[in-house]
């Protein structure tokens, strides 16, 4: 078991023949991901990386029975790509693209209400990996190891940092979900935590958040009510000033509730093993699992 993606996932790449799409599709295939084709409008019928290219996601799904799509198209077209994938019957859409206008995502979120069996992860995220089965995204595969810790994070490289600490302590991962750093994302921290709590293979969860919004505290309150597995939490941005956007469009402190300190306090009260230092994520998980 694992969540969202595994060795049986049939993955297509939207924006397949572009620079990013080509580079990361190659890496995903090398990792062993079952990539079955790709989509680039206007290039249908061609072969790229020894795989078929289609004009539309609909065509690709019909021809390859794909159920997972990873999106690398430029931000101006990414919302369109997500909606196209949903209508074509893709079950898990992982959108890597960064810089999608918020108003586009307001529409996408509303649009996806009509597709309850489709799950969007991202945008502006590193993707999802089930180690040694499927890498659907841009994370470095080699730092991961198969195991029992689930990871949920709004960040890219900070997730790699946490995963690396886990792996070096001998703690492998069930599935790592990069949910993305934008104000509107498909899968929230809480939804990702729920998936991992329901996964029998996952024994513990690392939850990495950031300043801005209320996703981590929403998840923390649910965890307090439903906790079955230990959760280690970290919130980046304890030293961030109010009102400034810290790189991620969603990482901005709006009020008193979405500071790192406020979130960490609530998480602690909800029984989460909160670490002050990102260097302690791995060992705290190890101790929590003892």
């Amino acid at each position: 078991m694992s969540v969202l993606v595994n060795k049986n996932s049939r993955v297509i790449v939207q924006g397949f023949t572009g620079g990013e799409g080509t580079f990361h599709a190659t890496q995903m295939i090398e990792y062993g991901t079952n990539v079955v084709g790709g989509v680039t409008p206007g290039k249908g019928g061609q072969t790229h990386l020894n795989l078929p290219v289609f004009n539309t996601v609909d065509e690709a799904v019909k021809a390859t029975k794909a159920d997972v799509s990873v999106i690398f198209v430029p931000p101006a077209y990414a919302a369109d790509g997500i909606m196209e994938a949903a209508t074509a019957g893709i079950k898990v859409i992982v959108c890597i693209s960064e810089g999608i206008p918020t108003s586009d995502m307001v529409k996408v979120k509303h649009f996806l209400d009509d597709y309850p069996n489709t799950r969007l992860v991202g945008p502006n995220c590193p993707g999802v990996i089930t180690p040694e089965e499927a890498k659907v995204g841009i994370m470095p595969g080699f730092i991961h190891k198969k195991g029992n810790v689930g990871v949920v994070s709004r960040s890219g490289t900070l997730t790699y940092e946490a995963v690396d600490q886990l792996t070096k302590l001998g703690l492998g991962q069930s599935t790592c979900i990069g949910i993305g750093g934008d104000p509107i994302i498909g899968t929230t921290t809480l939804e990702a935590v729920k998936l991992l709590m329901a996964d029998p293979e996952t024994k513990g969860i690392v939850m990495i958040g950031e300043i801005g919004g209320s996703m981590e505290t929403d998840a923390a309150r649910w965890i307090m009510e439903n906790e079955t597995k230990p959760v280690v939490g970290f919130i980046a941005g304890q030293t961030a000033p109010k009102g400034r956007r810290m790189g991620h469009a969603g990482a901005i402190i709006g009020g008193a509730d979405d500071t790192a300190a406020a979130k960490m306090k609530i998480m602690r009260e909800c029984g989460i093993h909160v670490v002050e230092s990102p260097a302690d994520i791995g060992k705290t998980m190890r101790d929590a699992l003892k």
Binding site: D104, M105, T157, L158, G250, P278
Partner: protein, 395 residues
């Protein structure tokens, strides 16, 4: 991207929002000319002289004055243009005022009572939908209203298919309006929502919205912020950027594709990825230092970007040490290490100790390059080691 008040009002006007007549002036002479014109054309017996800077609370800092005659226009504009305006939002150093908005006075006496309201539109992140936040307590700091009189703060969520007329009627009703003012307010709400959507705004705040003594509705003040991710489809809005309002180091960083935010501490940092950059700032604090900046070099860390990062961080005389924290994924650590070495050579002299922590793809090769370079650079592999080095440097 924040806009000036006068720019925000131009945007609102295009969507049919009534705003008082206003003219921007860069000198007291221009302000006098503008005031004469406004008084002649509108019949107003007063004008407001309003400092144009990207910060709220201008009135409290003396940046907004009412002039009842031309002498007062001249006096106030002389005082305001060129002043360093300190408001609760500018920080202690304040901001230089380069221009003022001369605006028609609309607080004239008349048959009906003058009232001020608050209306803003923004994204509700929890639902992924836009909301109109409004209150009959206008002209005040809305956070104070939320804290002291939360029952006077209303919210109306807008379905992504668009605002409906009943929602605007609800706003007007909750604001206690009737008759002409009520119908004017319905139009006002529909128009500001149109402006918010058409211009891909991330915030639209009108505080106060004024009901005049003749039951007209005006946007007396306005503050708009544009979603930077949407600027590609609004070239006309991209042109409104005022780099005078931004930190020069942040502007330079942007030109080098670096994401930089200036802070007040003594340890600079350069990191790949926003989350790790924030976490690195936190590590610096936990090690006894204070972060001097946020700096995300993104996925393309190389000699050029690293050199630019060094130059920008070193502009700050408070920086006592620099921590470079790279987790190599797609970015290879050996390339970053070479970038650091090359940047060192290019800049010549880096007067503060530099700690380089490389982890991930080719981390050991990267460490080797740093160690072999003979430069005064401390290298680390784990985050814990890097934290220990920061501690040594700041003590």
């Amino acid at each position: 991207m924040n806009l000036h008040e006068h720019q925000s009002k131009e945007i609102l006007k295009k969507s049919g929002v009534p705003v008082p007549t206003g003219i921007v002036a860069y000198t007291p002479e221009e302000a006098v000319k503008a005031a004469r014109l406004i008084m002649a054309t509108t019949g107003a017996d007063s004008v407001a002289i309003k400092a144009q800077i990207h910060a709220g609370g201008r009135g409290k800092g003396g940046g907004v004055k009412i002039a009842h005659n031309i002498e007062e226009v001249e006096m106030h504009s002389k005082n305001i243009i060129g002043m360093t305006l300190v408001t609760p939002q500018t920080g202690p150093n304040g901001k230089l005022v380069r221009k003022v908005l001369v605006q028609q006075g609309v607080y004239y006496p008349g048959p009906s009572e003058i009232k001020e309201f608050y209306i803003s539109i923004l994204l509700n992140r929890a639902t992924g939908r836009n909301i109109i936040v409004y209150s009959p307590q206008g002209g005040m700091d809305i956070e104070a209203v939320a804290a002291e009189t939360p029952h006077l703060l209303f919210k109306e969520e807008i379905n992504p298919i668009g605002i409906q007329a009943y929602q605007a009627r609800k706003v007007a009703t909750n604001l206690g309006l009737t008759g002409k003012a009520y119908s004017q307010m319905v139009k006002f709400v529909m128009s500001i929502y149109d402006a918010y959507i058409k211009n891909d705004l991330s915030l639209l705040e009108v505080n106060p919205v004024l009901k005049t003594s003749e039951d007209d509705i005006f946007a007396v003040d306005a503050k708009c912020a544009v979603d930077e991710n949407a600027l590609f489809r609004h070239p006309e809005l991209a042109e409104l950027r005022d780099i005078n309002e931004e930190d020069p180091a942040e502007v330079e960083a942007g030109e080098n594709n670096l994401n930089f935010v200036k802070l007040d501490g003594n340890v600079g940092c350069m990191v790949n990825g926003a989350g790790l950059a924030m976490a690195t700032m936190d590590i610096i604090k936990l090690s006894g230092g204070d972060p001097a900046n946020f700096l995300d070099v993104g996925g393309g860390a190389n000699a050029k970007t690293v050199a630019a990062g060094f130059r920008i961080i070193l502009k700050d005389p408070n920086v006592k040490a620099i921590l470079i924290n790279i987790f190599g994924g797609i970015v290879r650590c050996d390339r970053v290490a070479q970038g650091v070495v090359d940047a060192y050579k290019e800049i010549g002299n880096i007067p503060v100790p530099v700690i380089v922590r490389l982890q991930g793809t080719n981390a050991l090769e990267g460490k080797q390059i740093i160690d072999d370079s003979g430069l005064k650079v401390y290298s680390a592999i784990t985050l814990q080691e890097a934290a220990g080095l920061v501690k040594q440097m700041v003590n």
